[in-house]
């Protein structure tokens, strides 16, 4: 695997994670993470639309005039979102009914436009496709973790299967949007603290013996 591909994978999943670092796609995080099943379908939809959209836009990038760049991006991305909607309605009506407005919400996900603009506009189609997949998955694993906490505490179940006893009192707040706000905030805090510590450690390792070498990392963390 090429170095560039490896970097794209690492960036999407961790170092430039859409939720932790780019802070994109937060709106859908609030809406869909109160149960794992909806989250899963949303993640698959976003991953597909981002990957296919980035691939198409990268193919077209030399033909697109700068003036209408964003219009074309929106057009291509919404094309894939509508395709997902049509396919679900025709072949998976049960899922389509359950998701209702969620599918349309994929287009409001800033990750799609963000990756089209930040990556696909300057990279080869294959790499852009990989970048779309990795950003989708990077968004996905964080969302699934949050959804697992919310569904477990809010309904006492995971993927709709009851895992707690009858004596368990569901935390209603976990089902509602506010809980997503503070869970996302906690996840952001945790991930960025961990990252800052890891950075400080590697810097301290590089400048071994220098007193106070860990401080720049800590200062960066405080700034964030």
């Amino acid at each position: 695997m090429s170095l560039a591909a490896k970097k794209v994978i690492r960036d999407g999943l961790w170092t430039n994670n859409p939720i932790f670092v780019q802070v994109l796609g937060i709106c859908s995080t609030l809406a869909v993470t109160n149960n794992l099943y909806n989250t899963m379908v949303m993640v698959l939809g976003v991953t597909f639309a981002t990957a296919m959209g980035s691939w198409t836009l990268s193919l077209l990038k030399d033909l697109i005039p700068r003036k209408v760049r964003m219009i074309v991006q929106v057009l291509v991305l919404s094309f894939y979102v509508i395709i997902i909607d049509i396919l679900l309605r025709a072949y998976q009506p049960a899922i389509s009914k359950q998701l209702g407005p969620y599918v349309g919400l994929i287009i409001t996900n800033c990750i799609l436009m963000g990756r089209a603009e930040a990556f696909a506009a300057a990279n080869k189609p294959g790499l852009s496709f990989l970048d779309g997949i990795m950003n989708g998955l990077g968004y996905g694993w964080v969302l699934l973790c949050i959804a697992a906490v919310r569904e477990f505490l809010g309904f006492g179940s995971l993927f709709g299967i009851k895992v707690t006893g009858a004596s368990f009192t569901p935390w209603t707040i976990m089902v509602m949007a506010p809980s997503a706000f503070f869970l996302v905030a906690l996840a952001l805090w945790g991930a960025n603290t961990y990252k800052a510590k890891a950075e400080a450690k590697s810097k301290a390792g590089a400048g071994a013996g220098k007193p106070g070498a860990a401080n720049p990392g800590a200062a960066a963390a405080a700034k964030r």
Binding site: A31, V32, V68, I82, I83, I86, L87, V175, A177
Partner: protein, 209 residues
């Protein structure tokens, strides 16, 4: 001739061609699946009618739905525009159901409501389509919510209250009250008025039977 990418002619032509191409692809995809989507919708409607009558539940095999529907459910003449009516005989008793669309918070809610012809006790309710807030009002589509309506006694005022309760479902079938969705009182109000309207229709149809 070398194309000037930023020239107005190129920009207009490019935008036009790209839009036409993607819209054409969508139109083709839509056309190819339109029959399937229609079949799915009619299946969903038949299944919901059976569930509202209590003749089927989530465990009913998909391939049995159409034969059950054909055997048990009779489609009645539409009582008013936009409303469909059905009847079914279960054991000794006849039941009437109506499918109607009423406003919701974000968009229309379509549901099938079944009751005895005098509309004294609900037989069942199935939400067919809704666009309520995902995770809040959208939960009216969940089984625990609609299950509360099955067998519920209709109040003296001809209504069933959808009001704040434990949020887990109200098991009392005699109090003419079901639990609203926590955090979605507006949506719950819309469901309440939809059920009241459906009961009026059923009473009218039941009286004419």
């Amino acid at each position: 001739m070398k194309l000037k990418k930023e020239s107005i002619g190129y920009v207009v032509a490019f935008t036009f061609v790209v839009c036409m191409a993607f819209v054409a692809l969508l139109a083709v995809a839509n056309q190819l699946t339109v029959e399937r989507v229609k079949a799915n919708q009619s299946f969903a409607s038949h299944f919901a009618a059976l569930k509202a009558f209590g003749l089927a539940d989530a465990s009913t095999a998909r391939n049995e739905v159409e034969s059950l529907y054909a055997a048990q459910v009779r489609e009645l003449a539409a009582p008013s525009p936009g409303v469909s009516a059905y009847s079914a005989k279960i054991g000794e008793n006849g039941f009437v159901a109506v499918k109607l669309t009423n406003p919701g918070l974000w968009g229309p809610i379509t549901a099938i409501v079944a009751a005895d012809p005098k509309a004294e006790r609900l037989r069942g309710l199935e939400i067919l389509e809704q666009q309520e807030t995902p995770g809040l009002g959208g939960r009216i589509g969940e089984a625990w919510f609609s299950a509360q309506f099955a067998g519920e006694k209709v109040g003296a005022d001809g209504r069933i209250d959808v009001a704040q309760g434990s949020g887990k479902g109200d098991p009392d079938k005699e109090n003419s009250k079901v639990d609203a969705v926590t955090g979605a009182s507006r949506t719950s109000d819309f469901v309440e008025s939809l059920v009241a309207k459906a009961l009026d229709e059923i009473r009218r149809i039941g009286g004419a039977l």
